[in-house]
């Protein structure tokens, strides 16, 4: 009796293929998808071992871990896509702890029928974003759900980082602390909204989607005792400051004139009845620091390409109500409250 062996490795057709249920079934099709689409893009020593987990050692015991699910619609937008977002979003959460990101894991939930061509684009942009950030995606998972039970692609990334010895973020915000942002707010939200199906409008605004850990590393080198750092993503700048107000039992007073907002974003918000303070960002950070450190910190931020337009936008104040208030450019004062539900356009 002779046993024939077949060594052929059929290539999946990325150009014309779509995600099928068997791509998640644990059989050969899944194996091929992982080999030909994911491994080739993410390519590193841990993935090359083909294990279900990755083993590594770290130099420093102060570790940071975070996880983030990404479900954006549309999947591709000016300035990025769900792939780059899934890398930047998680790396930024690590960076906000003052840590240097090292490794990422990625879990994909794919919808049956999703074009492999688009999946490849997403995976390629994840790989580029990770490589640019000097981080490896070292383990992952793929699942497929039936058509109609997902929205193309959902990606969950978990990140791990280490906090350098010298970093001593105090995690307390005190009245008098200065509040600084690293640039124009609202770009990401407006860029994404401009592509929504029922809303398409022409704009040159691109998402600010970027990894901020190099900027934070530079900031912490200048001022190792920053008081707090956060990336104002969903809920925007207003959301972050309200979270801080509650967490640190302080109020904030902002100066509307000082908040960097592009004219195009202002214009789009005006048309749609939105407030840029509540619009999402993906490459922005807010930092609270001691008043004496503010000018040095601002100067160091401005020296980095992701901080050119940084500005001091206000300060923490003692306020038993923990209100975030703002001096309007009109000369009045108002509260900048939490966002209720989704931002909805005004009617007339």
């Amino acid at each position: 009796m002779t046993i024939e062996t077949f060594k052929a490795k059929p290539k999946i057709s990325i150009k014309h293929g779509v995600v099928e249920m068997n791509h998640g079934a644990g059989g050969k099709a899944m194996h091929q998808l992982i080999e030909q689409l994911f491994l080739s893009a993410f390519d590193n020593e841990w993935l090359a071992q083909r294990n279900d987990q990755a083993c590594f050692t770290v130099s420093n015991p102060r570790l940071v871990m975070t996880t983030d699910g990404h479900v954006i619609s549309p999947l591709f937008f000016p300035g990025g896509d769900i792939g780059s977002l899934a890398v930047h979003g998680t790396l930024n959460d690590i960076a906000m702890a003052g840590a240097t990101p090292l490794y990422l894991s990625a879990g994909f939930i794919l919808e049956e029928g999703f074009p492999l061509r688009d999946l490849q684009k997403i995976v390629a942009s994840m790989a580029t974003a990770a490589r640019d950030a000097n981080v490896c995606i070292i383990t992952g998972d793929t699942k497929v759900v039936e058509k109609g039970k997902g929205d193309g692609v959902f990606i969950t990334t978990t990140g791990l980082g280490v906090i350098p010895e010298n970093v001593r973020i105090t995690h307390t915000i005190l009245p008098g602390d200065k509040i600084i942002v690293n640039g124009f707010i609202g770009d990401h939200g407006i860029a994404v909204m401009s592509q929504r199906q029922n809303l398409q409008f022409n704009t040159h605004i691109v998402s600010d989607c970027a990894s901020l850990h190099e900027l934070t590393a530079m900031m912490l080198e200048t001022v190792p005792t920053l008081h707090s750092l956060r990336d104002p993503t969903r809920g925007g700048l207003a959301g972050t400051l309200n979270e801080w107000a509650e967490q640190h039992q302080v109020g904030f007073c902002l100066n509307e004139n000082a908040i960097p907002i592009r004219d195009a974003v202002r214009g789009a918000c005006e048309l749609l009845g939105l407030d840029p303070l509540y619009v999402a960002n993906e490459g922005k950070l807010v930092v609270a620091c001691a008043p004496a450190d503010a000018d040095t910190l601002l100067a160091s931020m401005k020296a980095h390409p992701l901080g050119t337009n940084a500005a001091i936008i206000g300060e923490a104040i003692a306020d038993p109500h923990h209100f975030v208030q703002m001096k309007t450019s009109f000369g009045g004062k108002r509260i900048v409250d939490w966002l209720a539900g989704d931002q909805l356009p005004r009617i007339c």
Partner: protein
């Protein structure tokens, strides 16, 4: 942002504030009602009350389209959304307004109804074209500002012979509401509700023209200043009103001359006249049933009238017992007079309609007004 930032100039605001300060008679109280929710929003967003003398009281009017819709109409829309094979769409704010038992279109969506937020009725037409096997209903609300687009959509649907598109029409009229408010004021002994003048509608007036309020202003001998929605517009209009009150003048003045004419937009009015007609009566939250206060779809367009296509019997709407929206909409009470305000009723969990839209008196006051207290 050119042509907008000019109307938000802080320096000019200070100058106008000073002028108002010099013009008010200090022993006199000025109760001015901003009719429109758009003005309420602007007043709070720019912190106008902190710039005005204490004896100028701004009273929120009923001009918030979401706020004045009675619960029964919201219940109707929700019932429509639960019929089989329906896509019900409307403007964003409308989806959050609670109907009976705090049930809203958003909650209906969570339970499986196909409810969509659209930015204009044109999106609803597109939905109908792309979903020929579904019935697309547009929940049309608003004052005269949003009425012309509804009229144009009806004409377009007829021209395209769309078979799966209809409108649940709830358009209401401004001058009649103004008259109702003044009639209540005349019939009440409580001098606390006396109004000295109106900051008149902005976008509504672009459509219907400033002459539309003439008879009301003359009958009740009140000054009305048609005002733009930008903060400097509002400040200037307040100055104009203060002068009119001081000189005991009544009638219409137009601050918003860059957009509003005497007769309004003939074209828009023509579209409306072609497709819509007056309802005998319509219920308003706060103001009750008022004759000739709303529009319905004309017989010639009956096939696009959701009320005729999907006739439903709706029980009387159930308001939250402690909700003061009705009194607030008439200017009789302020948001903080309501026991629920900022305690049980918040923008995250609105119990009454005035807490939903950013133009609603309660939501605007909650978001921006609490600083002054």
């Amino acid at each position: 942002m050119k042509y907008i930032s000019e109307f938000r100039n802080g320096h000019l605001a200070q100058m106008l504030a000073q002028k108002i300060q010099q013009t008010v008679e200090f022993d006199r109280h000025y109760a001015l009602m901003e009719f429109c929710g758009g003005h309420t929003h602007a007043i709070h967003r720019y912190g106008l009350p902190t710039l005005l003398p204490h004896n100028i009281e701004l009273i929120h009017g009923p001009g918030c389209p979401v706020c004045i819709l009675p619960i029964a109409r919201i219940d109707y829309a929700i019932a429509l959304s639960h019929l089989p094979n329906i896509i019900l769409c409307s403007y964003g704010d409308m989806l959050r307004v609670p109907g009976s038992d705090q049930y809203s279109l958003l909650k209906a969506r969570a339970k499986g109804a196909d409810v969509r937020m659209v930015y204009s009725i044109d999106d609803a037409l597109t939905l109908a074209r792309h979903n020929p096997t579904k019935e697309v209903i547009f929940f049309a609300i608003g004052f005269e500002t949003t009425t012309p687009p509804t009229a144009v959509a009806l004409l377009q649907a007829q021209q395209e012979k769309l078979k799966n598109f209809s409108v649940f029409c709830n358009h209401v009229l401004t001058p009649i509401a103004m008259q109702a408010l003044l009639e209540t004021e005349k019939n009440t002994d409580d001098s606390a509700v006396a109004l000295d003048g109106f900051i008149g509608p902005s976008h509504v007036s672009i459509i219907i023209g400033s002459d539309a309020y003439k008879s009301v202003a003359e009958k009740y001998r009140k000054p009305v200043v048609i005002a733009g929605f930008e903060p400097l517009d509002v400040m200037q209009s307040i100055l104009m009103l203060v002068k009119m009150v001081n000189q005991q003048q009544y009638g219409i003045q137009n601050q918003y001359t860059r957009a509003v004419t005497h007769k309004g937009s003939t074209k828009c009015l023509q579209f409306i006249a072609q497709t819509l007609e007056l309802r005998d009566t319509f219920e308003w939250r706060g103001l009750g049933w008022m004759a000739n206060s709303a529009m319905k779809i004309k017989k010639e367009f009956a096939e696009f009238d959701a009320e005729l296509r999907f006739p439903l019997t709706i029980a009387e709407g159930k308001e939250h017992k402690a909700c003061e929206c009705s009194a607030i909409l008439r200017g009789l009470k302020k948001p903080k007079d309501c026991k629920l305000f900022a305690i049980a009723c918040t923008p995250e969990n609105p119990l009454g309609s005035c807490m939903v839209s950013s133009e609603g008196a309660c939501a605007a006051h909650y978001a921006y007004g609490r600083l002054s207290e």
